[in-house]
Symmetry: C2
Subunit: 148 residues, 2 copies
């Protein structure tokens, strides 16, 4: 039950944009470098995020990507939903049809509770929250980043 790299990379990328929100578009290659993600692969993820209205893009020189809204207005749940699909542990919760045993399936009620717990965390955390957390962590480390 792991997130794929899509969700992980995608979140890191929008966090990178959130950290620079209001400073104009950020080209993809600088995000890719800072976050150590394959540029072409990240491009595919950003394309999905753009179609979902989370980021906007500008082509040409001096172009790049930026968040389409304030970081306070974008939840992690939104981002993950775009890249990973609905955050539910089993398919029968995602599709409306569900399975035919659902009325008598104790397992399903458990999965439902699990989904609620997950969405509580992801839906209540915004990009701004994480940027703030990031600054807190950085200042604790005296702004020294040991990794390259």
């Amino acid at each position: 039950m792991r997130l794929s790299t899509k969700g992980q990379y995608g979140l890191r990328a929008v966090l990178d944009l959130a950290d620079r929100f209001g400073q104009g578009p950020v080209p993809l290659n600088t995000v890719a470098e800072r976050e150590e993600i394959s540029e072409h692969y990240l491009e595919q993820l950003m394309s999905q995020l753009r179609k979902a209205g989370i980021v906007t893009s500008m082509r040409g020189a001096q172009g790049g990507y930026q968040l389409s809204r304030n970081p306070e207005e974008i939840t992690v749940a939104e981002v993950i939903d775009v890249l990973e699909g609905p955050m539910v542990p089993v398919d029968c919760l995602a599709s409306d049809g569900g399975c035919r045993r659902s009325s008598v399936c104790a397992a399903q009620s458990l999965w439902k509770r699990l989904a609620e717990a997950m969405n509580e965390v992801l839906g209540s955390t915004t990009l701004a929250d994480l940027v703030e957390e990031n600054h807190r962590l950085r200042s604790q480390n005296g702004d020294i980043m040991y990794y390259i």
Copy 2:
């Protein structure tokens, strides 16, 4: 971010055993039929559960599987852990090493909170809880099961 069928089938199977706890071993094929799971595939899952000490097996005629402990003493978290590995959304939480950015990674602290929320649900639910829920659901439906 879905559970594989291993976790889903495995939970259904042990729930089936929990429902018949104390009535002697249940042969694999009856569990497989009731739960509509490929017998040979389920065999592999039961083998893992046996090695993990969740079920015990008896060979030969009149043999089968049964829970090794009371249903009240087995949590869903245990079962899922055996079949799906640690319930954490990203690898860097599962391996002790972690990633080298962890000291300054806001995403990681989010994933940690998510893992805690998930384990809170799964770790506090026992097989007995779900069996009880099952009986409740069945009585609501007047014990009529429309599915085949």
